[in-house]
């Protein structure tokens, strides 16, 4: 892997990003909006419930972690689709750039944006709702990393699908997180779901993170086996996603799709 070429990817995206008001807006607007809505709801529930658990921490913890996952899914896919919009794939892949360097480059940019977005959310939550991140202790980091990994592997699959089928499937970028949210048990326990939905939830790495977030808030401990399972699922799906992406890239070269948009 070559650092100069990875730097080229980072630099290109930085130049693009700093001129795109809506992408800068996107980092700060949605976290603010979601915190506003869910924060107020959690305050209302806390006030109206007798002997209620800490709704603020549960809901805002869910919102912050979910937003992290959502951004991880969208940012990387959007960076890729921008190369398609910019008709830039042919420019990049006619240089010595390897596919792995390309992926590392866009993930490097994504991690910075995700960290900035998450810190901003934590700061707002602290400021307006007295949210205490320490209630999640070390789990905040473990959960954050697992969700980012899940988001990235999904985005790698989305990129492969966009590469293969073009602009028409761009809707996946925005839809996947929303489709997965009901099964990930972000705001309610797994038992709340009907049986068939529970079976889907159990194969999602995200479910174990949100389940254990609540466990951490209620009891101060987590099910380590479930955290390990979440990471194991990420590893398994991650390998599948990368293999799928590389194979799709090969198919794209066979079908001339890399130069379709030049």
């Amino acid at each position: 892997m070559n650092r100069s070429r990875i730097a080229a990817i980072v630099l290109k995206n930085w130049f693009s990003f700093r001129r795109d008001f809506f992408r800068i807006f996107d980092i700060f607007w949605w976290p603010t909006f979601m915190l506003f809505v869910w924060g107020l709801l959690s305050i209302y529930l806390t006030k109206t419930s007798v002997n209620s658990p800490n709704f603020v921490t549960i809901l805002l913890g869910g919102v912050i972690l979910w937003n992290t996952f959502d951004h991880a899914t969208r940012d990387v896919s959007r960076t890729f689709v921008e190369e398609v919009w910019d008709k830039n794939l042919a420019n990049f892949f006619s240089t010595p750039l390897t596919l792995t360097e390309y992926l590392v480059g866009i993930l490097a940019i994504a991690i910075v944006k995700i960290i900035v977005g998450a810190l901003f959310m934590l700061m707002l939550a602290r400021l307006f709702y007295a949210f205490d991140p320490m209630a999640l202790s070390w789990f905040l980091i473990v959960g954050f990393v697992s969700l980012v990994l899940t988001g990235w592997l999904i985005s790698i699959v989305i990129q492969a699908i966009i590469l293969r089928y073009g602009h028409t499937v761009e809707v996946f970028i925005w839809a996947v997180a929303i489709l997965l949210q009901p099964f990930s048990c972000v705001f309610y326990p797994l038992e709340t779901l009907p049986g068939w939905a529970q079976r889907i939830a159990l194969v999602l790495p995200t479910t174990y993170i949100f389940e254990n977030m609540r466990l951490m808030i209620f009891s101060g401990s987590v099910r380590v086996d479930q955290i390990v399972l979440s990471y194991a699922l990420n590893l398994f799906y991650g390998v599948c996603a990368v293999v799928f992406f590389y194979r799709t890239f090969r198919v794209a070269k066979d079908k001339g799709l890399l130069v379709k948009y030049v």
């Binding site: 290109k12 693009s16 910019d86 042919a90 990049f92 892949f93 006619s94 240089t95 010595p96 130069v259």
Partner: protein, 303 residues
């Protein structure tokens, strides 16, 4: 030494065969033209040479290496410019070239970019966003990008399209100067004068097949012989008689005589007519052109 070698290269998209079993090679320091009508398979061939499209069959070796064994090495010493390929529109010219400088690990990137920008007349708009450039300005930027890594092999797809004549002439000179420095160039162009001026050899491709390969003059001479027109003052009959004896095709119309002749025989013809005391007030020599070959070959006439 062969810089590029293509063997039995074929590309099919479903039932459509875009490139059909072509083979050719390009030697170090050579400038080779890839000509053909629209849809002939030139761009698909270029994209296969860049490894952006995988061949259905056949082998490509660049610098005596295949992409499977040395993709990074090949791409590091190769570059291309195309009128039809865009750079990211929201980035400025400088930013685009800087990104490419990192991509090719160019030493002293900023100095190199400034040098090329000055050379290709890009400096006045180097801080403009790419999307705000005219077609000609974009072509110049694309050429800066192509020369950024001082490639050993340069693939140029219509390098002077949309350029003003003075800039186009400069670009041609620059390509010829690069050839002197050892650069090898494969070029597609619809400007036949440009191809005649620059190319050592031309591959003519139509319906995915190479149908002719020769020097620009060699291809032009396949269409017809040179045509010498005389406006006669004296000796029209002697001229026609001489032409008949020498085996040249000649026709007379009023005071004009036209003789079809191989280019190397023109000197002999003129000397012989002088010996015969023939006098003429005007002479024009109409040599066959590559453009005529292009038109005939594109129409599918056998040459």
């Amino acid at each position: 030494m062969e810089i590029l070698s293509v063997q039995s290269l074929t590309k099919s998209f479903g039932a459509f065969v875009a490139v059909d079993n072509i083979s050719f090679s390009v030697a170090e320091g050579e400038i080779v033209g890839l000509l053909g009508p629209n849809g002939a398979g030139k761009t698909t061939t270029i994209f296969m040479l860049l490894d952006l499209i995988s061949p259905t069959k056949g082998e490509i070796r660049v610098f005596d290496k295949s992409y499977k064994e040395a993709s990074e090495y090949i791409h590091q010493h190769l570059n291309y410019s195309s009128t039809y390929v865009e750079l990211p529109p929201r980035l400025t010219v400088w930013e685009n070239l800087l990104v490419m400088g990192f991509m090719y690990q160019v030493d002293n990137k900023e100095a190199r970019i400034r040098e090329l920008a000055e050379k290709f007349g890009v400096t006045p708009f180097i801080n403009w966003q790419y999307q705000k450039l005219s077609a000609g300005q974009k072509t110049r930027v694309s050429l800066c990008k192509a020369f950024l890594n001082e490639p050993k092999l340069l693939l140029l797809d219509e390098p002077t399209a949309s350029l003003d004549p003075d800039i186009a002439q400069f670009v041609r000179k620059e390509i010829l100067a690069s050839q002197k420095r050892g650069m090898t160039v494969l070029i597609t162009s619809h400007n036949m004068t440009e191809v005649e001026e620059m190319c050592d050899r031309v591959l003519f491709i139509n319906h995915g097949k190479i149908i002719a390969e020769d020097t620009p003059d060699g291809l032009a001479n396949r269409v017809r012989k040179s045509r010498v027109h005389f406006m006669m003052k004296d000796g029209q009959k002697r001229t026609l008689s001489f032409a008949k004896k020498a085996g040249f095709s000649a026709i007379a119309e009023n005071r004009f005589v036209t003789i079809d002749i191989d280019e190397q025989d023109i000197a002999y013809l003129l000397a012989s007519l002088a010996d015969l005391g023939v006098s003429y007030s005007e002479i024009t020599i109409d040599k066959p052109t590559l453009e005529e070959f292009f038109i005939e070959a594109s129409a599918g006439r056998s040459l």
